[in-house]
């Protein structure tokens, strides 16, 4: 079941909108979602880059536990805002710590359930049939590359990471005007696949699932920023026990293997 990823929003802290208005809208959303929700159904808001791995993990989990898992994949920045406005998520799985910090400050996630074991790496990709050779960040500044797709570097984690990488490589100012910002990292991938941009920076895990792009450069961990995927149970969830159960499953060896299969880096904690 697909959840709408766009809700009407009025920021609770703005001078114009007051708390009543946002609660009315959140209440409306809750009513809508409750009409669709059934007992034992877990709603997971997760970063777009996790979509393939999580869907596979959930398929196995549903068979074992009997709980149904329903996903809302999107840019972590957008998902965090939706949770702020009261969207009925049970679990939040973000692509960077900053978004999780934001929710934690507002008391919207259960601190004790927060854990970060997943990491990722960045790659530069071009369309599979493109002859371009973009072997480093410097090549992105060259003339052959006119348009670069990134998840929005202002807020979406993949874009924020990519920008940090480009700044570290000291080419950000040169490539800034070539950037086509997309809503999330999968949209950046799609843009590269379509041939409408010359190159893009996405997660290695995204490049793995796509057959229509070619990886031309893998960003080494020391060249880019540290990437971390925290997950936690949402405070206002009505299925906290089921949520904790699923989080424990995401921690299991079985789930680890699926994540690694898709190219994620799992930090061993034992």
């Amino acid at each position: 079941m697909k959840h709408p990823t766009i809700y009407r929003r009025f920021h609770t802290h703005s001078t114009f909108a007051d708390g009543v208005l946002s609660k009315v809208i959140a209440g409306f959303v809750v009513v809508l979602m409750c009409c669709a929700a059934r007992a034992g159904e877990l709603t997971v808001f997760a970063a777009a880059s996790l979509s393939d791995a999580l869907k596979e993990i959930a398929r196995n989990y549903e068979k074992q536990s009997g709980d149904r898992v329903v996903f809302n994949f999107g840019a972590s920045s957008i998902l965090a805002r939706q949770i702020e406005e009261g969207a009925p998520a049970d679990i939040f799985f973000s692509a960077d710590e900053a978004k999780m910090d934001g929710l934690q400050k507002l008391g919207l996630i259960l601190k004790e359930t927060r854990q970060s074991r997943l990491s990722n790496s960045l790659v530069i990709v071009v369309a599979a049939d493109s002859p371009l050779q973009v072997l480093s960040a410097q090549d992105l500044a060259g003339d052959k590359v006119r348009r670069i797709a990134l998840a929005d570097p202002k807020a979406v984690p993949a874009g924020v990471y990519a920008r940090a990488y480009l700044e570290k490589a000291r080419v950000w100012t040169a490539v800034e005007r070539k950037i086509i910002p997309t809503e999330n990292v999968r949209a950046a991938l799609a843009a590269v696949e379509s041939g409408n941009v010359d190159a893009g920076i996405v997660y290695k895990t995204d490049a793995t699932v796509s057959r229509r792009v070619r990886v031309t450069c893998e960003v080494k961990p020391e060249e880019g920023p540290p990437i971390s995927y925290p997950m936690a149970v949402v405070t206002e969830s009505s299925r906290i026990e089921a949520g904790k159960r699923f989080l424990r499953h995401l921690d299991s060896v079985e789930a680890e293997r699926v994540f690694e299969k898709y190219g994620f880096i799992v930090r061993k904690q034992r």
Partner: protein, 224 residues
């Protein structure tokens, strides 16, 4: 309101105005054909012309993206032969605004032409006027109010266009960012105050456009 904001307002206004001018000749032609002629398959043409009005704008945007992208039927040709890219540039904004507001213009123009008594056109011909002169001096002059009201409506629609534009042009700061796209992005980034400032400008523009249209509709028509 920062300099970037005013750039967005200015860009939105002039590209909307340009799109209205671009569709005007086609709108006049289509309106005239629909008002004065009948042919087998006319209702099919009417349906196709109405599609952008009825389809979800993002669906229209998707069709445009497929058509105008570098691998698309039209976009591929333009890219390979003329080295011209349309998607993710201001040209894409122009195209999406034009396509989305075209049906509104055609409707208004058609009604305006239908209200012109064809007898006047016939008599003008007996007075020695060429078909072109009949069209400009009689048909268009008498339909002028309706045509202008249609143009204003198309302009207002273009000002507020979002769904097709975000598909085919993206929201590239400084290059394709329109008022609607900027409002959407501000909300996404949690900058609601900024969004409301842009919203206020948006409302003011729409108000002015619709107000002008209403004024024209009410004004008594006077001989020129």
């Amino acid at each position: 309101m920062s300099a970037e904001d005013w750039q967005i307002v200015w860009f939105t206004t002039w590209v909307s105005a340009l799109s209205t001018l671009v569709i005007l000749p086609f709108g006049l032609a289509a309106g005239l054909l629909l008002a004065r002629r009948d042919w087998p398959g006319k209702s099919a043409v009417e349906t196709i012309l109405s599609l952008p009005l009825v389809m979800p704008p993002v669906a229209t945007g998707l069709i445009l993206l497929k058509l105008l992208g570098r691998r698309g039927a039209l976009g591929g040709f333009l890219h390979d032969t003329l080295h011209l890219d349309i998607v993710f540039t201001w040209l894409a904004v122009l195209v999406s605004l034009s396509v989305m507001s075209f049906p509104l213009l055609v409707r208004s123009v058609r009604v305006a032409f239908e209200e012109v008594n064809p007898r006047l056109e016939q008599i003008a011909r007996t007075l020695g006027a060429s078909d072109l002169r009949v069209f400009w001096a009689i048909t268009v002059r008498l339909a002028a109010r309706g045509i202008i009201a249609g143009m204003i409506l198309a302009f207002a629609r273009a000002l507020g266009e979002f769904g097709a534009t975000i598909m085919v042009a993206g929201n590239i700061p400084g290059q394709t960012s329109t008022l609607s796209l900027a409002i959407f992005q501000s909300v996404q980034l949690g900058q609601d105050n900024h969004a409301f400032r842009l919203l206020a400008v948006s409302v003011a523009l729409a108000f002015a456009a619709v107000g002008a249209s209403e004024y024209l509709a009410r004004r008594k028509w006077a001989p020129l």
